[in-house]
Each structure stands twice: as structure tokens, then as C-alpha cells.
């Protein structure tokens, strides 16, 4: 099969998956979450008043009509109006997704840039004290709950030492409005440092251990033996021959990680009051904000699907033996 027809088929598959996911989300939220006007009970609104609000949300229409309208609008990239915020869902999601991705991509980049070479190096020093310590540290941060490491981080760097901000994305008062105005400032980086460090420490374990273990497997392969027999320096065998072959599982893991990153790390976003998508999704579900909840999950699904597609394509470049089937 040619590369092109393979891509077309995969794209179609992705589209069908998204359609199914969108449909499931639409009905699941409506079946599983309480009525969105339930929260108004606490405000003392009467049943008639709540019916008024429900009407303004379009919830008085038959379900199938709501569904058709949803699909029709979604195809045009219009995800409707958030019940809670009374703002276009797309605006909210792009803004929050931006905040989340800056944090997550920074953290993931740090984790992989350090984790991959470090993992390779540990495998080379296997059995030594460095190896044991490395594995221990990687596993420790991987298993420690992030709200805990986050709180310790805040306590030490924010409260005790007082040189890193403990929450938010910038110092008061500020004027920047655009996304890039916001993120290309020293103040933003200063706010980003602590949460990004906490997330990076959490993610560090995966590339580190996967790289190390795959490297150990690769060492047993004939071509490494061959390279050694040719008298190549150990460093070159390690990084040019073994590492390249050990990279495949790491790339898969990276893609999955980035795919899931769109949903953010709710815990970190809460601990650091980072206005990201994860917190927003939690709020949307809590307030039964159907338009916002289904669009957020759809965006997450789109991320995972796209990243999977990318990995499949990347694979063939990294390992020419993988063919399009």
C-alpha cells in the first residue's frame, strides 16, 4: 500500500473515531450528569425560574434536535455557548489549552531532554551506585502524588525561601492581554518554574526507565556485538547504535504523554492555581456545563488520535523496517 492511500485511510479512521466519541460524549453527559440548573437550587431559584434558565440553554428542545444542532455546529468548529460562563466554548478552550500546553510541554521537554540521555547513561553504568540512585529517584517522583510534591515545593521555595511565586501565571498588576505577550516575559517564566519543575520530576521517571531498560535489551543484540568487534569506541556504540534502536518505545511513550497532556494535570493546576484546561474540565463536569465538557473531552480525544497518527508516521522514519500495512 502506498504511503498516500495509507494516510488517507488513517485520516478517515480518525474522523470516524472523533464522530463516535462526539456522539458518546453528547449522550453520556446528558445521561450521567445532574441537570445543569441543579446548582441554582442553592441560589433559591424556583422550579419555574429554573425552567426559564433551562430554556435559555436550549434544553427544552427534544434530545435528538439538540444532538443534530450540536453536530451541525461542531462540524463548523462552533461548540456553542458555555452554560456557566455565557461565553463561546471555543474561546474558553483555546485560552485554557494554551495555558495547559505551555506548562505541560515545558515540563515534558525538560523530562525527556534529561531523562533520555540519563537513562542511556544509567544503562551503561548498570549495577553501579549511580544506576541504583537514578532508578530510585526516578521511581520516587513517579510514585509521589503531585499534590504532595507540589505542596512541598510551595512550602520550600514559595513560603520559606520566598523566591518563587506560589500560584498563577503572572505578578499583579499586569496589562498583557494576548497569549504571546503573556508567555514571552520573564515574569511568566518565573511563575512557570515551580509548577513545571514539579510536573517534569513526575514525568522524568518514564523516559529514564524505559530508555535504560530498552538499552539493556539492545546491548544483547548481534549488531552491538558487531560494532564492538569493529573496535568502535564505547561512547559511539552507546549513542549512535544502541540509543537509536532503543528510542522507539520512548517515542511511543512521548506521544502518549503529549496526547494526554491536553487534559492537563488537574492536581498541579489546582495546587498552583494554574488556569489550565484540566481545572476547567473539572469545573465543567461539576456544574454540568454540557457544551464546555463535551468540547473539552473532544479536544483531548482529537489530541490523542492525532498524536497516534503522528507516531505511526514517525515510526517509519525512525525504523525503516516498519512498513505501511
Amino acid at each position: 500500500m502506498s504511503r498516500r492511500s495509507y494516510l488517507i485511510r488513517r485520516a478517515l479512521q480518525a474522523f470516524v473515531s472523533l464522530f463516535i466519541i462526539a456522539t458518546l460524549l453528547f449522550f453520556l453527559f446528558r445521561a450521567g450528569l445532574p441537570d445543569p440548573t441543579t446548582a441554582l437550587l442553592a441560589e433559591g431559584l424556583s422550579p419555574e425560574q429554573r425552567e426559564m434558565v433551562r430554556r435559555s440553554f436550549g434544553l427544552d428542545q427534544p434530545l435528538w434536535q439538540q444532538y443534530l444542532l450540536f453536530l451541525q455546529n461542531a462540524v463548523q468548529g462552533d461548540f456553542g455557548f458555555s452554560f456557566h460562563y455565557r461565553a463561546p466554548v471555543a474561546d474558553i478552550i483555546w485560552e485554557r489549552l494554551g495555558n495547559t500546553m505551555v506548562l505541560m510541554l515545558t515540563a515534558i521537554t525538560i523530562a525527556y531532554v534529561i531523562g533520555v540521555p540519563l537513562g542511556a547513561w544509567l544503562s551503561w553504568r548498570r549495577g553501579t551506585r549511580a544506576d541504583t540512585t537514578g532508578i530510585f529517584v526516578g521511581l520516587m517522583f513517579r510514585s509521589a502524588p503531585m499534590f504532595w510534591t507540589g505542596m512541598i515545593g510551595i512550602l520550600v521555595f514559595g513560603v520559606m525561601l520566598g523566591f518563587l511565586p506560589t500560584s498563577g501565571m503572572r505578578t499583579l498588576p499586569y496589562t498583557a492581554t494576548g497569549f504571546f505577550d503573556k508567555i514571552f516575559t520573564l515574569d511568566f517564566l518565573w511563575h512557570l518554574a515551580l509548577p513545571a519543575m514539579i510536573v517534569a520530576l513526575y514525568y522524568l521517571g518514564s523516559p529514564l526507565l524505559i530508555m535504560r531498560n530498552t538499552m539493556l535489551e539492545v546491548y544483547g543484540e548481534d549488531f552491538i556485538e558487531m560494532a564492538r568487534a569493529k573496535g568502535l569506541p564505547e561512547r559511539r556504540i552507546l549513542y549512535n547504535h544502541a540509543a537509536r534502536n532503543a528510542l522507539l518505545p520512548v517515542v511511543t511513550q512521548l506521544a502518549v504523554t503529549i496526547g494526554l497532556a491536553a487534559g492537563g494535570q488537574v492536581v498541579v493546576e489546582v495546587v498552583f492555581s494554574w488556569p489550565g484546561l484540566g481545572r476547567e474540565i473539572l469545573n465543567a463536569v461539576r456544574t454540568s456545563d454540557f457544551p464546555l465538557a463535551q468540547a473539552s473531552f473532544l479536544v483531548m480525544a482529537a489530541f490523542v488520535i492525532t498524536l497516534n497518527l503522528l507516531v505511526d508516521i514517525l515510526y517509519s522514519t525512525l525504523d525503516p523496517r516498519v512498513s505501511f500495512k
Binding site: A87, V159, T166, G168, L172, V271, W274
Partner: protein, 534 residues
């Protein structure tokens, strides 16, 4: 003959004995009770309270299950389906609820339909009658007597048990601002704090931090108290309620009741909107008409008594009411913001405005400056406001955090000056030990309550409701769950609301013996396994 008579007698006696035996067998166990409450994660206090209650009820020979339920689902089951035996929920103490009308309305038998505010189905004609009477009574003293009598009438029926009134414990940075006065039910985040606060440093912007974000800042769409707590700072009102909750003329120079259904309001002279346009009677009449026309549910209850509002001069407005309403001046005039007619009259569907399109022009003591969702909202002082000379801050900022933990850390690191919401129990001693923080505690008039479903056995029996109420150790809840920061509940009108609260209602002090006696008196007894039967 004699023999036959004896046999008959024997048969009769046997039948009698058998009948008595059956009678005893017919004594049935009181059905098992489910207590619905919040999950521990949502609110550990209501969760623990349910277990404290269940423990003592079991001692009375009842089978009791505690069912922690996700909050929205709990509200849905309680209000919309009325599917509960006994449920622990709550009412927050919003300032307009200091007028007794709202809380008393939760006892009204005409509010027992699905979704309405009396889900327990309590029904007492005397209570309904008093409720209507107090709503019509304009003389405050006479109205108070009716409100007091209503409390005396409903409390012995024990339909809704106020578990406790909780103190609101908040804190502020005493090195940054002075003159920070907390208000009952509002804490420090009242409309008065920004107007009264005195900056002690060069930074004159008051920074408030809280975990709650407004749903939106559209004065015709926001349905949360957090939206209005902020918007009231830049949209002005005719009347504001003082920290002692007395109506105080604000934009209005005078409010006069011409008769029971006619109220004349005269505006102050020289009021202007933030865009420089003058505030006139036309704007007031327009605002009320606009709110009536727009189906904005949130203000519906306030506007219900209003028939028409007309401008009778440049600065005079007449309110024609449909029915006499004692609380109109306190509630409606102090809660409805005055919008500029020249901006809003062109907007047909205000509910569809995107955040960027919402006009933010008001006439309040502060002007809208900015809002970054999830991060911060800010206001600047309105130098043209009639109160401007008394306002010492030059602006207000509200920083939005994800949870109370974030708010408290910000208070510790002096990133904010005060908390908008009550602190968690563990944070209070930390705040007390910090030199730069002052802790303020004010009683709340909102309350957590246990509502019995009076349609279901055994709660259809007033004796059971009374006995089970006596078996609630509410003292222990206050001491253990609130760390002593609160007061045991009595009536739906809290003691802090001193004018309307009736201090002489039955108190249902914790007493297991009295509870048992009450049950025995009503014909209940205990079977061999100690289970309550009737």
C-alpha cells in the same frame, strides 16, 4: 346446657387471647432510615454530622444508613425528586436573606412541589397564614411579632432542623490595610470593605483572594452570588443595606411609601454613569422594565411584587406594586442594579452577549477595569462618585485561586490582603500565629439543616421527628466539627439576625431519655432485639 355455655365461653376467651396475640404481632418495626449527606471530600462537616446523628438514632433502636452523595446529585434527589428520608443540606447566608421572607418561605406548604424550596413537604395551615400575613405587614414591629409567632409555631413540629450556625472565620493582612470590618453573613467580602479599608502602605489597591469565580459578569445572565458580589461594586443601587442590615438610602435621596402598593423614590442630584452621562429617573424605570421583560430568573423573586415603574420627573420614580410587599424596599431596591438606558436599550438579547460585548458601564463607587477568566478581576475607584471622598483605596483586585489552600498561601506570602471566603479549620491557628494576619470571626445566618421527609414513615409522625431531634447531639457537632466556632441551631432565622430571631422557641436539647419518653408516649416500644416498634 351449662356445658355448652362453658364451651362457648371457652371459645370466646380463646379467640380473645388469639386476637391479643395477633395484636402484639401486628406491632411492626419502624422502617430503616437513610440519611443523605455530602461526600467527605465535598464537605467533611456535613459528612461527619450525619454519622454523629446516625450513631444516636441507632441507640434509639432504629436501623440507620448514612449515604454520602455527590453534591449535585444530592441536591437533585432532595429538591427535584424529593427522594429521601432525611437529608443534610444547607442554605448560604446571602445578605438579602436577612429579611426573614426567604427562609420562612422554606416552611410554606405551597412550596412543596418538585423542585421547590420545601422538599420535606411540611404543611401547617397556621404557618402558611402567618407567612402571608408577615409578607403584607408594613409596620415593622407588627411584622416582627408575626415572624416570631411563626417561629414558635413551626419549631415544635420539627420539620426542618437547623443543625448549627457556623462562624465565618476570615483573615486579612493588618500591615497592608486597616479599618477592615467583617459583616454577618458576608465576612470581609462585603460591599462596604472596599469603601472603608484604609491603606497602610504605598500600595492602595485592595487585593482580595478567593476560590470562587463568578460564572460570568453579565448583569442579565449571572446566576451566582459570586457574580453579584463583584458587580455590586460597579453597578450602583438605590438602597444599600448597612453592615447592621438597615436599608440606607444610597442613589435614592428618599424612599417614601405613598400607600401600601405605591412607592415613590427620589434620586440624588448629580449622579453620573462611568461614561459621564447623567443618571435619571428614566434609567431607573428602564432598568426595572428591562429586567421584567428579559426573563432573568435570578431577580424574579425580587421583582415579583412589581407591576410597573414609571419616571414621574427627572429624578422621581414611582413603583406600582401588584400586592403589598413588606420586604420590597429592603430586598428589591437594594439588590437591583441601575443600568444605563442609553446603552442597554439597544440590546435585545442580553443573555447572548459574549464577555467582550457586555457593557460594563455602571454608576457605582468603582469602575470596571479588567477580567481575565481564571486569574484576576480588577476595578478602579470612581472619582466622580458621591462617596469618593470617603474611599481611600484606589482600586480593588480579586485574585482567583483553585482552592482555599492557594488562597491561604497567598495570604501568608502577602500576595493578597484578605480572603473572600472562610478559611479551613486547619488554617485558622496558622493565621492566628502569623503576626501580619488578623483573624476575624463573624456568625453566619445561613445554616446547615436536616430536613425530614414528612410524607414518609416514620417522619410523617411528629412524635418521631421530635424524639429524633432530641437525639441529635448538636453540641458535639459544634464542639468537634466546628472546633467550637459556631452555635447550635434553633430556628431558621439565626440569632445573629437579632431583630427577627425568636429566642424563645423550643430548643430540643440533646437528651436521650427525653427522646425515649417522647416515643413511648406516642405508643412506640422496643422488641426483644431492642428495635423500635409500633
Amino acid at each position: 346446657m351449662l356445658l355448652r355455655k362453658n364451651i362457648l365461653g371457652l371459645v370466646a376467651t380463646t379467640t380473645l387471647v388469639a386476637a391479643m396475640a395477633t395484636g402484639a404481632l401486628a406491632q411492626e418495626r419502624v422502617p430503616a432510615i437513610n440519611i443523605d449527606t455530602t461526600t467527605e471530600a465535598y464537605d467533611p462537616i456535613r459528612y461527619e454530622a450525619a454519622y454523629i446523628i446516625a450513631e444516636k438514632w441507632r441507640e434509639l433502636g432504629l436501623e440507620v444508613n448514612v449515604r454520602p452523595t455527590e453534591f449535585s446529585t444530592l441536591l437533585g434527589k432532595f429538591y427535584d425528586q424529593q427522594d429521601f428520608d432525611a437529608a443534610i443540606v444547607g442554605w448560604s447566608g446571602r445578605i438579602d436573606r436577612l429579611d426573614p421572607h426567604f427562609y420562612l418561605g422554606t416552611l410554606d406548604s405551597r412550596a412543596t412541589s418538585l423542585g421547590a424550596n420545601n422538599p420535606g413537604g411540611y404543611s401547617n395551615p397556621k404557618v402558611d397564614e402567618l407567612f402571608d400575613a408577615q409578607a403584607r405587614e408594613f409596620d415593622t414591629e407588627a411584622r416582627r411579632d408575626l415572624v416570631h409567632e411563626l417561629q414558635e409555631t413551626y419549631v415544635p413540629d420539627a420539620p426542618v432542623i437547623v443543625l448549627f450556625y457556623r462562624d465565618e472565620v476570615v483573615a486579612y493582612n493588618n500591615t497592608a490595610f486597616g479599618e477592615m470590618n467583617a459583616m454577618a453573613g458576608e465576612g470581609l467580602y462585603s460591599e462596604w470593605t472596599p469603601m472603608q479599608a484604609q491603606p497602610l502602605t504605598d500600595r492602595k489597591t485592595l487585593r482580595i483572594g478567593g476560590p470562587q469565580e463568578p460564572d460570568n459578569l453579565n448583569p442579565l445572565a449571572s446566576t451566582s452570588v459570586w457574580g453579584w458580589k463583584w458587580m455590586r461594586l460597579y453597578y450602583d443601587r438605590l438602597v444599600r443595606l448597612t453592615p447592621d442590615v438597615e436599608p440606607m438610602n444610597w442613589m435614592a435621596a428618599s424612599v417614601e411609601a405613598v400607600d401600601e402598593t405605591t412607592i415613590d423614590v427620589t434620586l440624588r442630584e448629580g449622579l453620573t454613569f462611568h461614561d459621564g452621562e447623567p443618571v435619571t429617573a428614566e434609567d431607573v424605570a428602564f432598568t426595572f422594565g428591562y429586567y421584567q421583560a428579559q426573563d432573568y430568573a435570578y431577580f424574579d423573586a425580587y421583582l415579583a411584587p412589581v407591576d410597573t415603574v414609571e419616571a414621574t420627573g427627572d429624578l422621581t420614580v414611582r413603583f406600582n406594586l401588584k400586592t403589598p410587599s413588606a420586604s420590597f424596599a429592603n430586598i428589591a431596591l437594594s439588590q437591583i442594579p441601575i443600568l444605563p438606558k442609553h446603552i442597554w436599550e439597544a440590546i435585545e438579547n442580553p443573555g447572548d452577549l459574549t464577555p467582550e460585548q457586555i457593557p460594563t458601564v455602571g454608576s457605582g463607587p468603582f469602575k470596571y477595569a479588567s477580567y481575565n477568566r481564571g486569574e484576576i478581576m480588577s476595578l478602579e475607584k470612581n472619582a466622580d462618585h458621591f462617596q469618593a471622598d470617603d474611599i481611600a483605596v484606589d482600586g480593588v483586585e480579586f485574585v482567583i485561586y483553585a482552592d482555599m489552600e492557594g488562597v491561604f498561601t497567598a495570604l501568608q506570602t502577602q500576595a493578597i490582603d484578605m480572603t473572600a471566603w472562610r478559611m479551613e479549620a486547619g488554617q485558622i491557628p496558622l493565621a492566628e500565629s502569623a503576626d501580619h494576619l488578623s483573624v476575624v470571626s463573624v456568625p453566619d445566618f445561613g445554616y446547615y439543616h436536616m430536613t425530614y421527609n414528612t410524607r414518609r414513615a416514620p417522619f410523617d409522625d411528629v412524635a418521631v421527628r421530635r424524639a429524633l431531634t432530641k437525639a441529635m447531639d448538636r453540641e458535639r457537632m459544634v464542639n468537634v466539627l466546628l472546633d467550637g466556632r459556631g452555635e447550635v441551631g434553633t430556628s431558621v432565622i439565626a440569632p445573629v439576625n437579632a431583630f427577627w430571631h425568636n429566642p424563645f422557641v423550643e430548643t430540643f436539647d440533646f437528651d436521650m431519655e427525653a427522646a425515649k419518653a417522647e416515643l413511648e408516649e406516642a405508643g412506640y416500644s422496643w422488641d426483644s432485639e431492642g428495635r423500635l416498634v409500633k
